[in-house]
C-alpha cells in the first residue's frame, strides 16, 4: 500500500515534468530546430554574418525592438486604471467588462486594420499634421488595442488576490494614496506587471499583420522580413538567419523578464473582503478610456456589419448576419460552420494549454532551480517565434513515424496551444508563488501529503488564474491566423479567421458585409466564452476556500 502510494507519487511527479517537456520538444523545439538546421545547411550562417553588417538590417532590428518596447509601455499605462478598477472596486457589470476587454484579442488584423483606417479617416487623422494612417502611430495604437486585455487581466487578477492591509497600513502611517501605491502596492504587483509586459512585448515583437497593414509598405520587422524571405522570395537561408536573430533576442528578453518576476516573490494570503463600490467618476473615467482605445474600432466594425449598400445608399440591416448560415461559393463551408470549427479547436487548444501550462507552472514554482528556469524560458519561446519558423518546422520535422503529424487534425489545435501555454503560465506562476507557504504547512499539519496539500491549497487558489490563462488561450486560438495558414488543412477544417480572410479576398459588398458580421459574431462568442470559462474558475476558487 505504502509502496504503491510512493509509486503513484513519483510517477505523478515524472508526469508533471514529462508532459510539458514532451509537448514542447515534439511540437516546438524539434520542428524549429529542424528548420534552423535546414536553413543553416542552405547557408544561413554566412547570410547572418552578411546581414549583421548591413545598415538596413540593423534598422529592422532596431525598429522591431523599439516599437515593441513602446507598444508594451503604452499598453501597460492604458490598462493600469482598468486593472485597478477590476481588482479593487465593485460595480455592476464587472464580469461583463472583464470579458469584453478580451474581445480585441480574437479580431483578425485585416478587419481591425480596416476599422482603424476608417477611424483615422473619420477623425481627420488620415492626413495633415496629425496623420496616423501608415505611420508608427497607427502601429502603436493597434498594438495597444490588441494587448490592453493582457495587461488588464493578468495584473488585475493578481492585484485582486493581493492583501489590502499593507496599503491600509501605509495610509494609516500617513501615506497619500499615491505614496501607498508607489511604495507598497507597486513593488508587490511587479511580478504580475513583468509577466504581462513580457507577453505583450513578445506579441508586439513578432507582430505581423499590424505592421504590414497599418504601418505601410516601408516598415518592416524581423517577423515580416522572415515571412518575406521565406515565403515571397523563397530564400530559406536569409529567413533562417533572421529567425536566429529573432530567437536569440526573444530568449534574452525572456530571461530578463523572468528574473524580474522572480526578484520579488511576495508571500501573501489571499483575503476575501467586501470591496468598496466604484464611484461614478472612477467608473466613467475608466470606461471612457477603454471606449476610446477599444470601443471606437469595435463600434466601427459593428456599424459596418449592420450596414448594407455604399455611401448615400447605405441602409441598416441584419442581412449580413443572416447570410452567415449560407455557404458562399468561395468557401468550402458556411461561415457558421467555420465558427463551429474554430470553437472546437479553441476548446481543445485551451484544454491542452491549461494542462501543459498548469503542470509547467507547478514545476516552475516548486521544481529545482535549473529545471524551473529552463521551463520558464522554454515554454515562453513559442510566443516569440515566428509563425513561419514554427509552421514550416512542423512540416519538415513531423513527417515520419512515430511523429507523422503533418496532415493530422490535431496539428492546428497543437499549434494554437503552443501560444496558449505561456498565457496560462504567466497568470498561474505569479499566483502560485504568492500562495503563503503557511497555508501549505497548515494543510500538511492537518495530515495532507504534499501532493494533496497542493491540490487542496494551490489548485483552488490557482483556479482563477488557471481560468484566466485558459480563457486567454481560448481567445488566442479563436483568433489565430498566422500559424494556422501555414499548416495544411482539409477544407472542412476552415476556421473563422481563415474564412474571414477569404471573404475579404474578393470584391463584393455582400462578402465584405458578411466578413464584418462574422467578426462581430466572433467577438460576441469570445466574450461569452470568456465569461463562462472564468465563471467556472471563480466557482472553483470559491468552492476551494479553506
Amino acid at each position: 500500500m505504502g509502496k504503491l502510494r510512493e509509486l503513484v507519487r513519483i510517477s505523478a511527479r515524472v508526469l508533471c515534468v514529462a508532459i510539458p517537456v514532451g509537448f514542447l520538444t515534439i511540437f516546438f523545439l524539434y520542428p524549429v530546430g529542424s528548420i534552423l538546421v535546414r536553413g543553416i545547411g542552405a547557408g544561413g550562417l554566412e547570410r547572418l554574418v552578411g546581414l549583421l553588417g548591413r545598415g538596413s538590417f540593423r534598422g529592422v532590428v532596431w525598429f522591431t525592438l523599439w516599437q515593441a518596447v513602446v507598444s508594451t509601455v503604452l499598453a501597460v499605462l492604458v490598462a493600469w486604471p482598468g486593472a485597478h478598477l477590476l481588482a479593487r472596486r465593485r460595480f455592476r457589470g464587472q464580469a461583463v467588462l472583464r470579458a469584453a476587454v478580451t474581445v480585441p484579442f480574437v479580431l483578425p488584423t485585416v478587419v481591425v486594420g480596416g476599422a482603424f483606417l476608417a477611424l483615422f479617416e473619420r477623425f481627420g487623422l488620415s492626413d495633415g499634421p496629425l496623420r496616423l494612417t501608415r505611420t508608427v502611430g497607427a502601429i502603436l495604437a493597434a498594438h495597444v488595442f490588441f494587448n490592453v486585455a493582457i495587461v488588464l487581466r493578468t495584473v488585475g487578477t493578481f492585484w485582486e488576490g493581493l492583501d489590502t492591509r499593507p496599503e491600509e497600513q501605509a495610509r494609516v502611517l500617513g501615506a497619500t494614496p499615491w505614496q501607498a501605491f508607489r511604495w507598497v502596492t507597486l513593488p508587490r504587483l511587479w511580478p504580475a506587471v513583468a509577466a504581462a509586459a513580457s507577453i505583450v512585448f513578445l506579441f508586439c515583437f513578432t507582430s505581423f499583420g499590424v505592421i504590414l497593414i497599418l504601418g505601410g509598405p516601408t516598415r518592416a520587422t524581423l517577423e515580416t522580413e522572415i515571412w518575406r524571405h521565406a515565403v515571397f522570395r523563397g530564400d530559406l537561408a536569409s529567413a533562417t538567419a533572421l529567425a536566429v536573430v529573432q530567437l536569440v533576442a526573444v530568449m534574452a528578453m525572456v530571461v530578463v523578464a523572468n528574473s524580474m518576476q522572480r526578484r520579488r516573490a511576495i508571500g501573501q494570503v489571499p483575503v476575501r473582503r467586501t470591496l468598496p463600490r466604484a464611484s461614478g467618476r472612477l467608473l466613467a473615467g475608466n470606461l471612457g478610456l477603454l471606449a476610446l482605445v477599444l470601443g471606437f474600432p469595435i463600434a466601427v466594425l459593428v456599424e459596418r456589419s449592420l450596414t448594407t449598400g455604399r455611401g448615400a445608399d447605405a441602409t441598416w440591416s441584419v442581412r449580413n448576419y443572416v447570410a452567415l448560415a449560407d455557404r458562399v461559393d468561395l468557401l468550402p463551408i458556411s461561415a457558421l460552420a467555420a465558427l463551429r470549427n474554430s470553437l472546437l479547436f479553441a476548446v481543445v487548444a485551451a484544454g491542452m494549454a491549461v494542462v501543459v501550462g498548469g503542470l509547467a507552472s507547478v514545476v516552475v514554482v516548486h521544481g529545482r532551480r535549473t529545471t524551473s528556469r529552463l521551463f520558464d524560458l522554454g515554454l515562453m519561446l513559442p510566443l516569440g517565434a515566428s509563425a513561419v519558423t514554427v509552421g514550416f518546422g512542423m512540416l519538415i520535422a513531423l513527417d515520419g513515424p512515430p511523429l507523422d503529424f503533418r496532415s493530422s487534425r490535431w496539428l492546428v489545435p497543437v499549434a494554437h496551444a503552443l501560444v496558449g501555454v505561456p498565457f496560462v503560465m504567466r497568470t498561474v506562476v505569479p499566483t502560485l508563488r504568492s500562495i503563503d507557504q503557511r497555508l501549505r504547512e497548515a494543510a500538511a499539519v492537518l495530515g495532507a501529503s504534499p501532493a494533496r496539500a497542493r491540490r487542496d491549497v494551490d489548485l483552488p487558489i490557482a483556479a482563477r488564474a488557471l481560468a484566466v490563462g485558459g480563457a486567454f488561450s481560448f481567445a488566442v486560438s479563436l483568433g489565430e491566423f498566422g500559424a494556422t495558414s501555414f499548416l495544411p488543412r482539409h477544407p472542412d477544417q476552415l476556421t473563422a479567421p481563415l474564412a474571414l480572410f477569404r471573404l475579404l479576398g474578393t470584391p463584393g459588398e455582400a462578402l465584405r458585409g458578411q466578413a464584418m458580421a462574422l467578426s462581430v459574431v466572433l467577438m460576441v462568442l469570445t466574450a461569452a466564452s470568456v465569461l463562462v470559462i472564468e465563471g467556472m474558475g471563480r466557482r472553483g476558487a470559491v468552492r476551494g476556500d479553506l
Binding site: 499593507p166 500617513g174 494614496p177
Partner: protein, 343 residues
C-alpha cells in the same frame, strides 16, 4: 487633545456592523475595547482611521470634524491584527515608512528608527528581512512602526492575537509600560479580558455593534450590566433564575432573569446541612451557606479554582487549595456578590 466618536454607524451592503457608537478618549488615556470576535471592534478602529466610510455619525479630534478627512490626513496610527508588515522592505524600511512619507530627511529618519526599535527592545534588527522574524519580533516591529510615525492617537487591533500566552503576557506588560511612557491617547482592541484589565484606564464593552458598558475597569467588572458584557469580561457564574426568581442557591431575584454571582465573592466553608434558603435575598446581601460538591479543581495563574455543583448548578470559585474533588462544602456568597444583569 482628545478623540470623540459621535453616533458612529457603519453598514456593509445594508447590514449594520456598528450602530450609534459614542466614545471619548483623552490624551494619556488607554481605552480598551473589549468584545468577542465579530462584534465590530476592528470596524470601529478602521472607521476611526478613515479606512471605512461611516453611514452616520462623526469622528472629531479636539472638536474638529475629521469624518471627511482622508486616512493619511488624520494623524492617527493603527496597528493591524496580523501586523501587516511590508514584505518587500526590511525592518528599518518598515519602521521608517511613516517618516518617509512625511518627507523627513534620511539622516533624521535613521535616528528616529533606531530610537523606535530601541523602545521596543529590537536594537540592531534594522537590516533583518521581515520573513525571518518570529511572531513576537514581528509584533514589536509593527509597534515600533506605528509609534515611530508619531501619531496623535494610537490604535492597536488585537496586537497579540496570534502569540502564545506566555509571550502575550510579557508583551502586554511591556506594552503597558510603553504606553504610559508615550502618554498618548490609545485605543486598544482585544477579546482577552485579562489583557484588557492589564492595560486599560477605561474599558468599553462592545457587542453587536453597540457599546454595552463603558467605565473604569473596577466599575465595569463589578457591574457589567448585561449578560453579554459579563461574558466578555470573563465572568463565569451566570445564573439563570426561574419564574419566581429562584435557583439552587436560593431566591436571587424577583422573577425570571439572569444574575451574575461573582466568583471572587463566593466563599467556601464547612459543609452545610441545609437546603437552600427560601427567603428572598436582595442583591448586595449575603447568601447561604448552601451545600455543594467539589467536582473538579484546577490551578489557573497560581490560584486554585474549584468547580462546584450546587443542586445541579455549576459554579466556579477560587479557593485556598484545601479542598479536593469529592468534598462536600458549604457555599455562600459575600456581600455584593450577586449582581442582576439585563438582556
Amino acid at each position: 487633545m482628545s478623540l470623540r466618536v459621535d453616533g458612529l454607524s457603519v453598514a456593509f451592503d445594508g447590514v449594520s456592523v456598528l450602530d450609534g457608537v459614542d466614545l471619548e478618549v483623552a490624551e494619556g488615556e488607554v481605552l480598551v475595547l473589549l468584545g468577542p470576535s465579530g462584534c465590530g471592534k476592528s470596524t470601529l478602529l478602521r472607521a476611526i482611521a478613515g479606512l471605512e466610510r461611516p453611514s452616520a455619525g462623526r469622528i472629531l479630534w479636539d472638536d474638529k470634524d475629521l469624518t471627511e478627512v482622508a486616512t493619511h490626513g488624520r494623524g492617527f496610527g493603527l496597528m493591524f491584527q496580523d501586523h501587516a508588515l511590508f514584505p518587500h522592505r526590511d525592518v528599518a524600511g518598515n519602521v521608517e515608512f511613516g517618516l518617509r512619507v512625511a518627507g523627513m530627511p534620511a539622516d533624521q529618519r535613521s535616528h528616529r528608527v533606531a530610537r523606535a526599535l530601541e523602545m521596543v527592545g529590537m536594537e540592531g534588527f534594522g537590516g533583518r528581512r521581515i520573513d525571518t522574524l518570529s511572531g513576537g519580533e514581528a509584533q514589536r516591529v509593527a509597534l515600533a512602526r506605528s509609534v515611530a510615525a508619531g501619531p496623535r492617537l494610537l490604535m492597536l487591533d488585537e496586537p497579540f492575537g496570534s502569540l502564545d500566552r506566555v509571550l502575550r503576557e510579557r508583551l502586554t506588560e511591556d506594552l503597558g509600560v510603553l504606553l504610559r511612557r508615550l502618554g498618548q491617547a490609545v485605543v486598544h482592541v482585544t477579546h482577552d479580558h485579562d489583557e484588557a484589565f492589564a492595560l486599560a484606564d477605561r474599558i468599553a464593552v462592545l457587542g453587536d455593534g453597540r457599546i454595552l458598558r463603558i467605565g473604569n475597569p473596577a466599575e465595569v467588572w463589578a457591574d457589567p450590566g448585561t449578560v453579554h458584557a459579563a461574558e466578555c469580561l470573563g465572568h463565569e457564574n451566570l445564573v439563570v433564575l426561574d419564574g419566581s426568581g429562584c435557583c439552587p442557591l436560593g431566591r436571587l431575584g424577583d422573577g425570571p432573569g439572569t444574575v451574575l454571582v461573582r466568583g471572587d465573592r463566593l466563599v467556601i466553608g464547612a459543609p452545610a446541612d441545609g437546603q437552600p434558603a427560601a427567603a428572598q435575598v436582595s442583591a448586595g446581601r449575603s447568601v447561604g451557606p448552601v451545600s455543594g460538591l467539589v467536582v473538579r479543581t484546577s490551578i489557573r495563574g497560581g490560584r486554585t479554582v474549584v468547580v462546584l455543583d450546587v443542586g445541579g448548578l455549576c459554579l466556579r470559585a477560587s479557593s485556598d487549595g484545601s479542598t479536593s474533588v469529592g468534598d462536600r462544602v458549604g457555599v455562600s456568597v459575600a456581600d455584593g456578590g450577586v449582581v442582576p444583569l439585563s438582556g
